[in-house]
Amino acid sequence: MDLAVVAKEIKPADLLQMYYYLRLTRTLEDRVTALYRQGRIVGGVYTSNGMEAIPVGYASAIERDDIIAPYHRDMGAFLIRGITPGEVVAQYLGKRTGPTRGKDGNVHIGDLKRGIIGFVSHLADNLPIAAGAALAFKIRGESRVVVANTGDGGTSRGDFHEALNFAAVRKLPVVFFCNNNQYAYSTPLSLQMPIKDVVDRAKAYAIPGEIVDGNDVAAVYLAAKRAIGRARAGGGPTFIECKTMRMHGHSEHDSAKYVPRELLEEWKQKDPILKAEQLLRALGYADDAAFHEVEERVKREVEAGVEFGEQSPLPEGPEVLEGVFADDEEVSS
């Protein structure tokens, strides 16, 4: 990112805060991975390692009343929206204090009070939901915006098409992010779609598209700001493709041998935390001491979270039966 632009467009405190969330995400996810390796977590562990700048960037760009509809590599967005490391660990451990009280696992985190639409594993299912949330805002004349995210893989699903088409026809206040990390599980982009840039998908809907460096948190943030501004002003949806790379396996059991090592080497140089530090240094907003301080802080917070998660109680069997239906006190009103 051009330093002058960043200096002009992003407040130092905001950029520092993004840096903090990048670090918090990395540290938390590394810690969760360690728990997984110790056999403490069962099931899938999907991390955003190498891609943290995308959720941190877009979630930093929204306003309090806006809504996010994330997917499975958006830890930074959960954290910014107020999900605590403790809740994340509790969720992974199936504890009652997790956002789904043990009912669901890993990053299936939703909480409308904190403006987060919970997602299902079925990829791209979150996109029509996001469009519908935006429709609600439009119908009510509220100036709220929805930001949704999908992987490159998810864009091949029919629900992607139906959601973007509907959002575009109705000019809904929703911004579609795409985390293009070049793979869907083991499948490279070339076997997923006939185009090089996922953003070309947006042409089918006459939706303005943009490609940004997904490893540059400032770039993601500014692109999000622009698109959110347009959406809020009634300009309809935007599609933002964030070029990035998945640095871990698909899930932590996957060694990702199918990814060429050189590709990983190349992208290691573009690590989003590294990039953010370079930027902060160049702008004179922070130095090594400051980075170290953040490091220490997030470590403490993550450890406190692990402790919270571990000490939280598991749910009890009969809780299975609770909460299939919302209660219908409303019906008699």
């Binding site: 669901d104 939901i129 949330a133 009510r140 098409h161």
Partner: protein, 330 residues
């Protein structure tokens, strides 16, 4: 609230239309979406005039994309709206299956997001619609946790259940039977009312055999009951009205009284709702049964188009009569 048609006889179709209209007036959060429901008023003209009255943003014509607009309804419901979506024919609900069962059905359970939406599904045969304009898809959703299902058989129930469905904080699939649209009529109360979800209704009190059914088949059962009465066999007709939650108590009460049960529906037999009812009776009312539980339902084929085929496929009055006579002999 008094309705426009107070005192006048209305059809099942008009009852649906009235319920929608009144709820849209009563509650700003209610809006409707679907294919051709705007200026055209819907394939069955249930929303005729609605767009003029409520505007383009509360009566939305959608692209031809069931998964997309059901998903959008879910999202809007999560944001506090009360969407009612129309399937042009219930048959197309298969296109939105994933959103309904995986998202709508599980969100409250997993993360406490209630999804107060209604899917209107014009379903059922007897209208020579062929395999894709006559389906009874309720069996699939009967086996999908987190959804409520209702299937009225009369104008009164049609209106009251749709209002209850719209006011319910959960996703409700409202199965409206196309065959009944213009074939059943009734004078409805002038004041606002609902028919509570989860409560069945004994449409004919009897003593000898319980016929447990719903939708268009209620009328078939009532006709059979009239015939059988002449032979001294006295049927009780239990109209489920709600499929989920099922009014198990009402079913058990009836069968405890009659000791004999016929379960009747229009959906395919294997794995249908009748199987569940028979299974529950076989488990919980075993000691009170004086004969086998007979299910009457179409064979396990798509519903065919040609008249003689469709007639063969659908349950007939004679099927009920034959089954009742068999049971009476136990």
């Amino acid at each position: 609230m008094t309705t426009a048609t107070a005192g006048r006889e209305v059809t099942y179709l008009e009852a649906i239309s009235e319920a929608l209209d009144e709820e849209m007036t009563r509650d700003e959060r209610v809006f409707i979406m679907g294919e051709d429901i705007g200026p055209y008023g819907g394939a069955f003209r249930i929303t005729e005039g609605f767009q003029k009255k409520y505007g383009e943003w509360r009566v939305l014509d959608t692209p031809l994309a069931e998964s997309g607009f059901v998903g959008a309804a879910i999202g809007a419901a999560m944001m506090g709206m009360r969407p009612v979506v129309e399937m042009q024919f219930a048959d197309f609900i298969s296109c939105a299956f994933d959103q309904i069962v995986e998202v709508a059905g599980t969100s409250y359970y997993r993360w406490r997001a209630s999804v107060p939406m209604v899917i209107r599904a014009p379903y059922g045969g007897g209208v020579h619609g062929g395999p894709f304009h006559s389906e009874c898809p309720e069996g699939w959703f009967f086996h999908s946790p987190g959804l409520k299902l209702v299937a009225p058989s009369t104008p009164y129930d049609a209106k009251g259940l749709l209002k209850a469905a719209i006011r319910d904080p959960n996703p409700v699939i409202y199965f409206e039977h196309k065959f009944l649209y213009r074939r059943v009529k009734a004078v409805l109360p002038s004041e606002d009312y609902i028919v509570p979800i989860g409560k069945g209704d004994v449409k004919r009190v009897g003593t000898d055999i319980s016929v447990i059914t719903y939708g268009a088949m209620v009328h078939l059962a009532l006709e059979a009951a009239d015939l059988l009465a002449k032979d001294g066999i006295n049927l009780e007709v239990v109209d489920l009205r709600s499929l989920i939650p099922l009014d198990q108590e009402l079913i058990y009460e009836s069968v405890r009284k009659t000791s004999k049960a016929i379960v009747l529906h229009e959906d395919n037999k294997t794995g249908g709702i009748g199987a569940e009812i028979a299974a529950r009776l076989a488990e919980d009312c075993f000691d009170c049964l004086d004969g086998p539980i007979i299910r009457i339902a179409p064979p396990d084929t798509p519903i065919p188009f040609s008249a003689p085929l469709e007639e063969f496929f659908l349950p007939k009055i004679t099927d009920v009569v034959t089954a009742a006579k068999k049971l009476a002999s136990y």
